[in-house]
């Protein structure tokens, strides 16, 4: 009590110093909370936007797949094919923590132009299913979005501009005209003599049995967030994808119904799936034979089930509240228990550099906060040491009349921690308030791709969870403790004699 009383009065007595230290603690705590909320918000933003619009929380790939950062690679190697989707589907549907899932394919397309070859990532899916799982993460700027069974490709609005630069032609959806307002600056210069294309001549990338084909452009799409990040992404109907990449298509299967053929198909399947990526290589005689047999069969029944045939990965969307780590563990157990030939990868891992980029942004913030720490510690430690030395007479006097070193230490610590609690506390609180005010409003990226990337979406919304606040309090404590150690030693060392000699 005596210590607290003296400490408190000393804080008031040395108002200037208290204010400097308090001010730094306030600012430090404030910026720390904001930094935390910012990096948290960015991560949350990119997670929400990526997970909800394209990747899902967890992705399942063939256990033979070596590249776990497969989703947005620089050079797309052909992916291994997922075995036994029918069974997987049944099992996944029984998992209560999985909200929904979507099988997809992923590959690189070479655009075969007159001038040069350019490149596009393409993702095959059933459109209706995509909409079901991911809502409508993109909208058609021109043309119409597709439904199951429609054939064609959706091109990213930014990707179109890029391809125009590479190829010299401007893509518009089938049956549509140029929308002048949507032209890029470069394209505007060429207009109205602008070369227009409504279909793409593409070759599947890196597949030996892949074919060239002409694919109709059905829509120019814009992702509602992170469109810039998605510029090289095109969405294609699954059957066209399979044809291009030489996969066994659902239509192929639908054509083959007679019981007599089941045996052959089964035999073929065994062969195919046994070797893993045989669809990709396609050179095996059994495939050729099989396809020939199938193609020559008369159509008896033609029910196309698009979930049949080949996929590269399955995106899993978790139920709200499920943690990715928790679900990963469950999925891994499931794969083990059911003997599925799969491996689970988090969206972050699968996204590779894109997720890394958001880490870079929060990394920079963390470095900034760390530097702030160091600077705060240095300034506070300095000011406190000066205070301790200036108070030699006071401390020496207390020691002379019988106060132990511990008493001086406790008093000094009390003063510093009072300041830390009061000013640091106000700083934390201010940070929370500012976060709280900005969050619902959000800060717009102004349509600038880079900023959108840093923000993790169109709008930046800082976010401070309970963990962030606890983190802030712990950091504040650390700063206080580190800053007080040296001055405390100085204060403890002061003797009555030092005080007498001062005079």
């Amino acid at each position: 009590m005596l210590i607290f009383k003296i400490a408190w009065r000393n804080i008031l007595r040395h108002k200037g110093k208290s204010f400097i230290i308090g001010g730094i603690l306030f600012l430090g705590a404030f910026l720390m909370v904001l930094g935390n909320a910012t990096s948290n918000g960015m991560n949350r933003g990119i997670e929400e936007n990526m997970v909800k619009s394209f990747t899902g929380h967890i992705l399942l790939i063939s256990d033979k797949e070596e590249d776990k950062k497969f989703l947005f690679p620089m050079l797309p190697k052909p992916m291994k094919i997922i075995q036994d989707y029918d069974r997987i589907q049944t099992i996944l549907k029984q998992q209560d923590y999985i909200k929904d899932f979507l099988p997809m394919t992923r590959g690189g397309l070479a655009i075969l132009g007159e001038a040069q070859m350019s490149f596009l990532m393409t993702y095959g899916c059933n459109f209706d299913d995509f909409q079901r799982v991911f809502g409508s993460p993109y909208e058609a700027v021109e043309g119409d979005l597709l439904k199951n069974g429609d054939k064609g490709i959706l091109i990213n609005s930014n990707g179109r501009k890029k391809q125009h630069v590479f190829q010299g032609f401007w893509l518009v959806p089938e049956g549509r005209d140029v929308v002048e307002a949507n032209l890029s600056d470069e394209a505007k210069k060429e207009y109205p003599d602008l070369a227009i294309r409504r279909e793409l001549n593409v070759g599947a990338f890196g597949e030996s049995n892949a074919s060239d084909d002409t694919v109709p452009v059905r829509a120019i799409v814009k992702f509602k967030s992170l469109n810039g990040l998605m510029e090289d992404i095109s969405i294609i109907d699954i059957e066209t994808y399979r044809k291009l990449f030489g996969y066994f298509t659902a239509e192929d299967i639908a054509e083959e119904v007679p019981v007599a053929q089941q045996k052959l198909l089964a035999a073929g399947e065994d062969d195919l799936f046994g070797s893993g990526d045989i669809f990709a290589t396609g050179a095996t005689t059994s495939v050729a034979e099989l396809e020939k047999t199938i193609k020559t069969k008369t159509v008896i029944k033609r029910v196309i089930n698009y979930d049949d045939a080949a996929f590269n990965y399955i995106s899993l969307v978790l139920n709200p509240g499920e943690s990715i780590d928790g679900a990963m563990a469950k999925i891994e157990n499931l794969i083990e228990a059911e003997g599925l030939q799969l491996q689970a990868v988090s969206w972050r891992t699968a996204s590779g550099q894109i997720a890394d980029l958001s880490d870079v942004a929060s990394g920079i913030i963390n470095v900034f906060v760390f530097l702030l720490f160091i600077v705060a510690i240095i300034i506070i430690a300095n000011t406190l040491s000066m205070t301790a030395m200036e108070r030699t007479e006071e401390f020496g006097m207390m020691r002379a009349v019988g106060a132990r070193k511990g008493f001086i230490a406790k008093m000094f610590l009390s003063e510093t921690f009072f300041l830390s609690f009061i000013f640091g506390g106000i700083g934390l609180f201010a940070g929370v308030i500012v976060t709280w005010i900005i969050r619902p409003i959000g800060i717009g990226a102004g349509g600038i791709d880079f900023i959108e990337l840093v923000f993790g979406g169109e709008t930046f919304r800082p976010m401070l969870g309970f963990a962030g606040l606890v983190n802030g309090i712990i950091n504040l404590l650390f700063v206080t403790i580190f800053a007080v150690i040296y001055p405390l030693l100085v204060a403890r060392k002061i003797t009555p004699l030092d005080a007498i000699n001062r005079q």
């Binding site: 009065r9 007595r13 006097m397 002379a400 009349v401 019988g402 106060a403 132990r404 005080a499 007498i500």
Partner: protein
């Protein structure tokens, strides 16, 4: 028994390349209830000697015994506790805790005593009584900066006496006081000396107050001359 015994006590201060020999082998024996005055010219070593007796400074040679125990080997903690419980010190110039009021300054050493078994009220009463005796009835709740030099000195005296120490050391206690107050203070000290058998040692330049002493120690250039 001697309360204080100094045996060939030396104190050297290094000063640049040379050494100042402030105290050069002083022997001293002080009995319980003595009222001793240390006199000598300025710079003769009075303050240094008192600081050594008061466990504030270390002798560089010789032995210092308080209640028969050699304190030269004591730890910082033991020395501090000795200062708190056994010795009351009135310094020549430096004195009070700035953030505490007059009353709180006097209470301070009692509050440090964890084993004193004194209630808050007893502590307060004792402090108030002493402040009345040094004539500071009206300054109880003022802070040191609101007091005159003499008033501050009186607070310091009250604080030195409040723990009822066995030994009170005073370095020119009356130097900042007018002769009336000086007399009053010395009378108070003498009373305590007689009633409580408190041992007093004080340094002074003032021949007037020598009459209170029952023993005079004269020093010159760090040596005892009588």
């Amino acid at each position: 028994m001697n309360v204080i015994e100094l045996e060939k006590v030396e104190k050297d201060y290094p000063l640049g390349a040379t050494t100042v020999h402030a105290v050069r082998g002083v022997d001293l024996a002080i009995k319980e209830g003595d009222f001793i005055s240390i006199v000598g010219p300025s710079g003769s070593g009075k303050t240094t000697l008192l600081n050594i007796i008061g466990c504030i400074d270390h002798a560089t040679g010789g032995a210092v015994r308080i209640h028969g125990e050699d304190v030269t080997t004591y730890s910082d903690k033991k020395l501090t506790d000795l200062r708190l419980h056994t010795i009351g010190f009135i310094f020549q110039t430096f004195n009070l805790i700035p953030v505490l009021t007059t009353l709180e300054n006097v209470e301070f050493p009692l509050l440090l005593m964890k084993k004193a078994n004194l209630s808050k009220k007893e502590i307060r009463d004792r402090a108030v009584k002493l402040l009345e005796e040094v004539g500071l009835n009206d300054q109880m709740n003022q802070r040191p900066f609101e007091l005159s030099g003499g008033q501050r000195q009186r607070v310091a005296i009250a604080r030195a006496l409040v723990t009822k120490p066995a030994i009170v050391l005073a370095d020119e206690p009356t130097a900042n006081l007018d002769s009336d107050t000086g007399e009053k203070i010395l009378t108070l000290m003498k009373e305590l000396n007689v009633i409580e058998k408190t041992t007093f040692i004080f340094s002074t330049h003032d021949p007037d107050i020598l009459k209170y002493a029952n023993g005079v120690v004269k020093i010159k250039d760090g040596l005892r001359v009588s």
